[in-house]
Structure formats: C-alpha cells, structure tokens
Amino acid sequence: MKKSIFILLSITALGLSACQKFLDRKPLDASSASTFLSNQAEMEQGLIGVYASAMWVFPNNTSLLFAIESSTDHAMKRGGNAEDLVAMGDGGPFLVNNSLSITAWNQAYKLVQRANQQITGMENGKANVNATTFNRIKAEAQVLRAWGYLHLMTWFGDVPFYKAPPSVNEVLSAKRTPVATIIADLYKDVDEAVAAFDAAGTAPVQALGRVNKAVALGIKAKLALLIKDYRTAATATKTVIDGGLYTLNPNYPNLFSLAGQTTNAGREILFCQTYPTDVNEPQNWGPILGVPRQVTNSQSSHFPSQALVDQFEDRSGNRIDASLTYDPANPRLNRDRRLAWSIYLPGDTMVHFASKTPALPYNNLRERTIFNIYSNVRRKFIWNTGVYDNVTGNNDWVGAQAAGIQWQVSATGNIGGVGYVWNKYNDSTQYTFESKVGYILLRYADILLMYAEAKIELNEIDATVLTAINAVRTRAGQPAVLINTQAALRTQVRRERAVEFAGEGLRLFDLRRWDIYGKANSGPIVGISLDPAVPAARPVFDADNVPDYSASINQRIRFRNQVRNNANAKYKLWPIPQPEIDNNPGLIQNAGW
C-alpha cells in the first residue's frame, strides 16, 4: 500500500513538473521588460528612447515650448486655438480639457515614465556594465527626468511624483506632492548626476541634443529659481561659469541657423531639441509657422506681440519710453539688434526658403520680400534681374479685410498677428517646410542671466553680476549696464531675458516665478500702428516692464478684438487635465478651477 502511494505521488509530481514546463512559455518575438537593459548596448538603446520622449511637440512638429510661448504676453497664435484659449484666461474659455495643457502634461509624464523605466530597468544589468558607464547613462536619465518635473511644476504646481515606474494602484491613488518636496529630491538626483558626469569625463557638450554636467546644473538652477532658492541657483550657475568651458557665441543669429548650431561657437548651446538631416521627419515647424502670408506657401500662425517688440531698447540702452532715438513712425530703426534678428517689422527685408521648386520668373528657391502690411502692393526681389518688382496681392495687407481676407484689423476681429512675424529660427538655407534647425532648450546666456538674477535677488551685487549681464548685452551690441541698485538691476535683467530669449519658450517660466503672469497677460492685445501716417504713441511701462497701451489703443491694430484677462489668481497655474481627475478623483484640482 505504502509503495503504491509512493508511486502514485511520484507520478503526480512528475506529471506536475512536466506541466510546469509545458506552461512555461516565454514571449517569442519581443524583448521583455523583465530582462531588457541587461548590457551596455541595451542601456544605450533604452537611453535613446528616453531622449526621444524629450521631444515635446504641439501640435504635430511644432515645438511645445514655442507653442506655449504663444499663450503668454509676448506672442500669440491665430485665434481659437488651444494656445489662444489659454492666453485669453477668463475670455477663453480656458477649460480643464484644454489640449495645450493636456498635451504638456502628457508629454512631460511620458518623459518621466521612460526615465523611470530606464533607471529602474538598468538594475537588470548592473553587473554587466562598468560602474562609470552605468552611472553616466543613469545620470542622463536622471537629468531628463528632472527636466520633465521642472516643467510639470512650472505648469501645474504640485504634481504626482514617481521615481520608479508606478503600479496600477499607485497611479490610481496618486496624490500631488508639494513642489518643495519634489525639488529637494531632484537636487539630490542632479548632484548625483553631476558627480557621474565628472567621473565619466563627459564632454562640455556631448553630441548636440544630449545632456551633460552643465545642463544638469542649469536645470538645478531653474528648479531653484522656481522656489526662489536663489542661493542654490547662484551656486549651480557659478559652477558652470567658473568651469570656463563655455562662452557666448559671438554671432547671435548663428545660434538659430543649422550651420551655426553645428559649429556651436563658444559651445553656447547646452541642450537642444535637434532634428535629423538624414531622414525627412521630424522637422522643426517653428519656422514655417512664422512665415507671413505674403510669401509663397506660407502657414503663418504664431506671431510676436507688441508687448515683446516694445521690450527691445534703443541702441543707447534706453527702454523706448525713455529713448531719445526711438521713432514711433519708424520703430525698426535704432533698436537693439536682437529685435531685427528675432522679429521682422514692416519694412524689413525677409528671405525665406519658401518653395522647393523655383517659381518663375523669380528663379530662386528663396523669396526675398520687403515685409509690408500697409499696402496691397508688395515688393518682391526678382533674382534673375536683380531688382525689386511690385507684386499686387498681399494677404497680410491690413486693408485686405474688406476683400474678405481675415487679417485682423482694429475692432472687427480676425485671425492674423499684429504686424510682426518671427525671424528667429528662420534659416534661409532650410526649406521652411522641412527645417532642421534645432530648438534650443538651454544655452549659456541663460546660465549667465540666471546667475545675475539669483545674485541680484540675494542682494549680492558685485562685479560678477554685471559681468554676466554685460556679456550678454555686449554680444548684441548693447552698451554695458553700470547701475547697481537691486530694484533697477532686477528690472534690467528681466528685460534682458525677455529680449535675449524672445520666442525661446522661457517666458511662461519667467512670468510664473516673477508672479506677474496675471498682470502681464491681461488687457487688450494691440499691435503696430493701424496707419503708418498716424504713429501710435509709446506705451507706459511699470516696474515689471509691463506696458500700458491705453493711450494709443485706437491707433493700433487689434488682435481679434481680444481682451485677455488673467487677473484671476487661478491662472497662476494651469488646471490639472480633466482626464487625470476623471481617472483618479482623489487628485485635487488647482484652486479656482
């Protein structure tokens, strides 16, 4: 009996183990999350995947930060779009399901997730990779994760904070972690990354598009500025400055052309959203979105604002309200050179690579046009004769409204800009529809100005502060500032950021931490003089450089009859996307939304 029970049990055990083997079916045609990232090659591939999710776009190929700029006081987007609704505030309606804020949330969290997956998954192969390399790869992922959280906090304030891929239950029961807590944690991450980059001897700029020690420190400074931790910001930026590896590119426009970026003189560009020249997609759509509609195949939709244009000083270093040389009838003259480098004003000569097949009789892929909004006749350069021709038919003509073309004039409402178009990033060697110019995310000028700002706020104004500001000004041909009072320097450095980084996606970050988003982004959206014969009067500025156009409002072009109103305190932050709250009712919405 005992024997037969034993035999029976043995057979059962044998049968069961055979069954276990029968049921052990591993995926046949895929790399499993539980085993991948087991060697350096796999880790590098995974890291590229993390970088891929740092390419934020809205919509399509438009850089997200460029799109967001259009929701601030310094830019605008053709009416009725998500950016426009965000910019309008109470007049939007800016609702909890706005696609700009939802996209921003989604893309930043995708980056966070991929970085988390990389950092956690790399443990699978820790033993197979030498420590220096392992730590360098991990450091890049850590820095990218910090980049993701930096923006999430800028946009939304407190957010769910994951440092490893969350489980289903963790995501569904997530709560918002206070900004200060997240930043304190990210400081440690960044410090760890900095040490890893040092140990690995990472290059001052790795291949353009990658992060390194300076980027890590730059992000740390930005995190610090977000919570007004000026000491940390000053220390982090000072480390980069003292490292001596970076200087400004002596030629400002070269920062925004493909050739200039490839050379990257002075290594000024630290971190950049880059585009491939070996395949057709993706492309940077920023340039094409700026081309005015008087140019062939144009798609203009994103425009600079009057408030931005009026930040540019005259060449003596005076703001236009204090300028002796500023001429309201000819505002493009005698201005900070960065104005012309960044923005086309009526009368400027524009060159756009607007068509891949030359249109006769122009016989050139490029179109050279004199930007004109005041006449239905525009001047277009004829390349084979070498003279300008008068071309009738100008879609940007302010009078075109009568013919049913929707250029926004005065009070009647329309979908164009306000008399200005972007020049920055327009590289005439690049077909505007397929531009491969990178979108800069962090450059050395930012490090310098962040350093200056932090020290000014700490009221530790010394020579290093003025040196930092003046390096940026001198490069643009502007006179050095000599003032040394905290208040005056604060105004100066804030204006400097506005003009230096126009269109570079930093404005929302700046407005938020300076607590002037509501003030700066409220009021009627005005533009250039409606009639050049009746030049609009200069605005009045307050201490935060916010212009007041009430005196000249009737002489100016109006954007869609729009009056932005972000006075409500709730606009200090964007709302948490509604789908997030629908899926996790425990997530508390920002106040007022």
Partner: protein
Amino acid sequence: MKKVSLLCCALLLLLQCVVAQQIRVSGRVTNSVTGNPVEGISVLLKGKKTGTTTNTNGEFNVSAEKGATLVFKSIGFATKEITINNNVVDIELVPAADGLGEVVVVGYGTQKKASLTGALVTLNNSALNKRQVSSTSQALQGLAPGVTVQQQSGRPGADGASIVIRGQGSISGSNAPLIIVDGLAVGSLDLIDPNAIESITLLKDAASTSIYGNRASNGVVLVKTKRATGEQMKLSYNGFITKQEATGIPKRVSAIDHMELSNVAERNRTGNPAAFVFPQTLIDKYKTTAPNNLDVIDTDWLNEVLTNTGIMQNHNLQLNAGGEKMSMFGSFTYLTQQGLIPNSSFDKYDLRVNPEFKISKKLTLTGVLAYTNSITTNPSTGSAEFIIRQAIGLPAIGGGKYGPGMYGTAAQSNNRNPIAMAEATGNSVVRGSTLLTRFGFNFHPISGLEVEGYWGRQSSNPYSKTWVKNAEIYQPNLATSSYSLIGTWPGTSSLSEAWTNNLYTTYLGQATYSKRIGAHSVKVLAGGQSELFTNYFFGASRQGFVNPNQPYLNLGSGVRDNNAGASELALAGFFARVNYSYDDKYYLELNGRRDGTSRFSQARNKQWGNFGAVSAGWIFSKENFFENAGKLIDYGKLRASIGGNGNQNIGNNYAYDAFYAQSAYNNPNNGTNAYFGNSTNLGLALLQFANPDLSWETSRQWNIGLDLTVAKRFTITADYYVKTLKNMLLQRTLPQSAGGLSNPFVNAGNMENKGWEVSVNYRNQFGKLGVDVTAMLSDVKNKVLNLVEGTPFIGDGIRTMPGQALGSYFGYVSAGYFSDSTDVKNSPIQFGVPWSPTTANGPKPGDVKYADINGDKKIDVNDRTFLGNAFPRYEYSINLNLTYGNWDLNIFGQGVGKRNNFLSGTGAVPFNSADFAASLLDIHKDYWRPDNQNALFPRLLPSGSGGNNFLLASQWIRSAAYFRIKNVNLGYTLPKNWLNKAGISNLRVYFSCSNLLTISKAWKGFDPEINSANAEFYPLMRTFTGGVNVTF
C-alpha cells in the same frame, strides 16, 4: 489486473454451473426517433428487484431465465416490457413528449436530461435548420433563454453573431463563451457548417461549466457533429437559394434639399439672413433642369454603390453510411454569398468525414476529418461599412460616376468616391483554409468502465492579399460638355500579403466508471487534457505598381516592408466529476478542475487554479405524497447549484509582461528615436504598461431551477441565478501620469449579474394539425460592485463605476432647446462661453440646452451623469411550429424589451465632417426653427460649427428596443407514395423569409439590432429563400 479478470471469469463459470437454466441476455437500447443509443435505462426483471442500467452506448448485460419478462423503464420514455427468448435483445424505446429521455451532451460526457442538475439548453439539428443562415451563430438567436445572440453586420464572411451567456462576464476580457466542437476548443462557431451539426449544448451555470475551469466563466457552447446512425445507407441533399436585401438604410436628401438646407445652416452660423453657400440661381436651375451629370448633378449614392446581387446559395450533400463494423458520416457543403456592394462576397467549401471503426465489442476507434476553405472578398481602400456610410452621407451634388472607369470628386477635396472605392480600387481577399482532425478511441475493458482518449489538431492558414490600385477622377467640363481627368485616387498603388499559421493541438485521456447498486447509482469521471495554441505570421508589402492588372510583389518599385511574429499559449487541466443518484429521484453532482495556463506569470505562481461546483436535483413529482397530490403535474424537478469558474481570455498571450519596442516618429509623441547631432539614433522604449501580477478573473454563480411538465402538454423551465465576478480583467485606462503607455490588463474588481429565465413549451396534435409553441423570456441586470482603487474606468464615451452597470453612458442631460435669446441669457453659461449678441461663438436659440446637474449655475464637465447602457434587457422570443398533413410552418419572432443606443457621427449629425464632408439625411429635416420648437434635431449648422449640440447627451441616446419576425418558413413534404417509385424516400420543398417585419422606435432606416454609433454599418439582411431537401 490479470488476477482480477481471472477471478471474474472463474466466478462467472461458477454462477453458470449453479444456475444452469439462467442465460446471459445482452442488448442495446435505442431511441426510436433518433436511432441514438439511450443511456441510463433501468433494465429490471419483472417482479424482482434485480437488474441493471444501460451504459453510454445503450448496452446492457443481464442474467435471466428464459421466458422471464424484462422491463425497460425510464423517465422520458414509454415503458416497455419484453419476454426473453434470445441471448440478444435490441430494444427501441419511444420518447415521451416532454423530451426528458433525451441524452444530452455535457462537459466531457453525456447525461440523460432527466438527471441533469445544472442549467443548460440543448438544441438539436432540427431546431437549428429552421433558418437558412450563412453563419451558425445566427441560428442560435432566440432559441435559448439567457443566451444573448446579437448580429451586428450583414457583411458576407462577417455576418456571424456574438454570443453572450447570462450577461456581461468581463469588462475588457472576452465575453464570448468557450466553444468546444467534438472536444476541441476551436474558437469559432461559424467555422462549423450548420448542416453537419447534430446538437449544440449551451452550458449556463457553474455546475455544468466548472469542469472547463479557467476558461468557462462566460459559459460553454458544446457542439457535436453528426455521426452515422443505424445500419443504413442514406444520401440527402439540402439546397437553397436566397435573395438578400438590406433591412433598412437611412433615406438621403436630394441635391436641391442639400443646397437649400446648407444655406439655412450658413445663415444660422453667420446670423446674416442673406448669407448663402449655394446661390439661389443655382438652386433654381436645379429645380428646372433634369439631372444631366454635368452642371446639374443629383447622385443617388446608395443606388450607385449597392449594385451587387445579394444572392446566396447553399448546397449540402450528406451521406450516412451505417455499418456493423464500420460507419461513416460524410458531408459536403458549398456556400456562396454575394454582398450588396461590389467586391463583397463570401465563398465556403466544407468537407467533413466522421468515420467509426468497431475493432471489437470493447474497442471502437473514432475519427473526425473536416476541411474548410473560405474566400472572403472586400474592397481594399475602405471597409464595406465605411463605403456604405459615405453612400448614406455624401451630398447628392457630388459627382458620382460619369461613365465606365470615370469617377467624380464626390464633392470632396480629397476626391474620395465610394463608388470607385467599391468597384475600382482593388480588393482584399482572405483565403482561409482550415483542417481539423481528431482521432480517438473508446475502450470498455469491463462492465461499467469506459476509457476514452483522443488527439486533435486544427491547423488554419488564413492568407490575405490586399491590392490597392488607382481609380481615375474626372470633372465635368461645361465648355465642352465632356469630362476632364483631374487626378487619381488614392494616388498610390500597393500590395500587401500576409500568411498566418494557427495551430491548435490537444491530447485528452479520461475514464468513466458507473455502477448501480440497488437504488444507488454512481458515476465517476476523471481525466486530463492539454492544449497548445501556436501562432506564426509573416507579411510583406510594396508600393508603386505600374500595371493595375499585375498584383505581384516583385513588380512594386516603391516602399517595401515586411514583418513577422509568433506567439504561444499552453493550457493544461485535470478534471473530475462524481454523479450520485438515489432511486432516480435524488441527484447530486460534484465537478472539479485543476487548471493551468501559460498566459500568466509562472514566476509569480499565477498559472494554476482550482475550480469546482456542486449541484443537486430532486424529482419531487416522484415522491409518494406528490403522486397522490396532483394529477396536473406529471413531472417536477427542483435544481440548485453553486460553483466557480475562471476567465483568462484577453487575446494577449503574454499580458503579464511588457515589451521594449521601436516606434517611428510618425507615431504621435510615441517615437523612440533621438537625433543627436542631426543624425538619427534608433532607440527602444517600453510602450506598454507591465502588470506581472495579472491572473484570470473568477466567477461564482449560484442557480436555482425548476423543470415542470404540466398536463402532459406543457414543459416549463425556469431559472434564477446570481453570478458574481471577481478580479475582473480590465484593460484599464490609466491617468497619463503613468506615462501614456498602452493600457495594461489588471484584475480590477467585482461585478454582479442577476438574472432569470423562463421557457414554456406547448405541444399537441389535433387531428392532422400539430402544434408546437415555445415562448421564452429572460432578463439579466448588471452592476459593478467595485473597481481597483474605487476609481471609475473611462472608455470611449462610456464609463464604468461601482454601483452602475458596466460601460454606462456618461454625459449631459438635455433639457430641450434654447427657445429664444432670453432663454439663452437666463440659462446657466454653457462651457464657459456666455451669451453674446454679436459673436458667432456660444449658444443660440435652437441649440441644445443642458441641465445644470450639480447646480453651480454653469454647465461644464461636472454636469455629466449616468445615462443608461447598451445592454439588452427583457429578451423574448416566440417560436411557433405548425404541421398539417404534409405542410409545415415555422414562425419565429424575437425581441428586446429595453436597450439604449447612443447615436453620433454621420447618422446623427447633419453635415457631419468627421471623415468626409457629409450632407444630411431625410430625418434631419425635422430641425429646430422658431416655429418648430419640439424638433428632433437642433438648428442646422454647417460642418464643424455644431458647437456643443452633439455631445454624449440624453438627447442622442435612443431606445433600441424591438420586436422582429426573424423567420417564417413554410414547407411541403411530397407524399411518399409518389416518391418511392423514383427511389426517393423523402422530399421537402420550402420557402422562407427572415427579418420580415420589425417594430421599433429607431429612426427610419436604422436597424435597432445594430449598435451603430455613427451610422457606419453593413445592414442586416432581409432574405427570401427557396429550398429543397431530398433524401434517397
């Protein structure tokens, strides 16, 4: 073992010596109607208590004196007595009207209906073949209470119905029952030719399904194919021809209506009473000039697109070759079905041979060989459903077809023309070839013991070839009254081919032992089964073909691509069942299975589970007290069962894991490449959310049931059940803070289905008139009990939340239309845009007004609420069979008492522009005007300007309740004496119609049976069939 046999032999010899006058009597009991063997018949010596029961083959063995009387007795059969004269006695028993004597197929065996303790329904071939359908699943509709059969499409090759047993069994896992054909889990019922089916058993409660373990939570459908009966040769032919037409298609507006209403919409949009899209002069011209396809175009898109014949033919030849040692059932079927549009057809060849070899009295070998070849053709540049939706929605002013191969622009900027899509831009052909084989044995070594085993394999190899070519698009040239070529559509040519191999292999071994001692009867079953599914595919494609008539890959000069993939699924299970009955009055059954699946993580011990059920039955009508009490009730049985099951059917063989993958940039925001220094670096990323703790969902179901036979004529079955699902499989939409990965499967929570089922049958013969009526009514109510973290699950326009039915509509409540400007001004602000006299934005009179559910004086996302669901309630059917002499008539009606359907897209929205610039439908003419305040639709607005009028709101959730005469079938059997001379034993001709009449509140032209959200459907068919059955 050998010793035991020897001992038995010795004993037998001894017995024979002692009672020399006794003889061994053996024999076989069969059903006089079906010819099938009958199991479980008591064989008793009259006046004595000794006797035996028949085994599964109807065989018995008993010792008796010559001249004694044997009594054959069982519920469901007329009792029969015979006097013994021979050693071999074959008996035919006549079944009683209540059908209780039938032997039905149950999991891994058979049982007599009278002894069932679970809830199940068996449908035999004669019930199924009343309707002439192209897919077997359609034939089940309305035949079993508690089984929801919904057909959603009439497209050839895709017109099968979904089968749901006892309500929604899963959130994101499959709701489909496990389909077992001759012991093989082959997946699709429609693969089986209905002509070759002997019976279908639908197992509903846990008692009957738990022996199938981790796949049986949604019920089980057991199909048994025919085998040869009797010792006879019989050849029969069944053929029919059917004309199909759409049950309903929405009516379109004319070109003039389109233009006038477009102008109305434009005036509404701009607020300018002089605004227009089409000038009045043009409209006037249309009114005075007949359409000429040049400057006056009035295209009847439906007429141009629905040009195929819709003819279906089915020819079936069956051979019954019964023999003593060898028998064979053979069947060959050819089905051809033409759709409503060109390039829409289905052809199927089905060959089946089911042989049987009786090697000895104790050993039988059985086989199944079935080969199916099907060819499904569809247009390649768009689904038939999309083509039909365009034909419903396109404006009549769009150019259709100007001549052979000359297509118009359809008034679309992209020139996409459904006529060209249907007939001229290539097709997609799927050739399916499936070979099913099964070889097995039955061995009866000793009395009461039956050992059975088989090996089965199904190999299916669908091969698809999709060919896209260009059609030429023309535009009228008014100057020359001719047409000029303006381009081609779709502008590219491509060919893609894919080959798939799906292989299913199973091994089964089981033993059954039954024994009766006095009034105690015991039957024990134990066995094991392994199943392995493997899938492999590869495909290749190219673009850029010059010759539109040479669809061969080597000729493509453009982009090339290729792909492949492979996966496996393994299942293993051990099962057992014990049946005990006392005095044929009290029944008890225990079922159990230990089941493993490779679908879940072995590392985390998620693969194995135990499932079981217990059930009992009591034939109270056999109790003495009852026999004296009532003469009205002839038979009564109470049943009760409780048990558990699993569901692991999530269509993903490795759902517990997640994979790194490459993704191109054009996958929005999900690319894995980075571009350092302006050059492409290929990366990888995890694109799915991994959940290694995933396991099957489990269900627990209890059931009480009552079977009654009243006044000999009425049979009644009623059941009540509560089915509770736990750890439901849910493909959970996660907050995007999880990283936007594709949604993982999770074990998400609990859900409950409560339902009841009643079925009543009446059968009688009044002289030449035979009447047989069955009426059924059932209901099931679904409620989600809880979900993971208690958070709602948000699907596409629907929401699942604890306390609500699964997938309930969640949206706004309409409070009519804004009647005038004052109404707009005084109502809560909708979606942040206040009333304004000037701007085009914001609500206007005639727009839908939404109710302020949360009372915060504004309408926004917080004013959404639950608005019902799309699950059918109160399903009913009535099935009437009349015979009069040689005539027979079947009328079958089926309906749903309550169901909601949300309508959107082309069907609901005038000038809808989601996929193309649409016109409007006839129903849209009832739009809001100041003098038509109670209109069906809000004020007309152009495409994209509809504001918030077509949100998911109560306004657009319509009742989809219906009653439908599903089938009418009239047959006439020619008198035998005419036929016998011609060597024909039976000949019946018949005529039938399906979907003859529908009563519902659906908008005209919309079929209430179809759950079509956006008027994208392939209509169901109304059919007219003539056919003949001949038996030689």
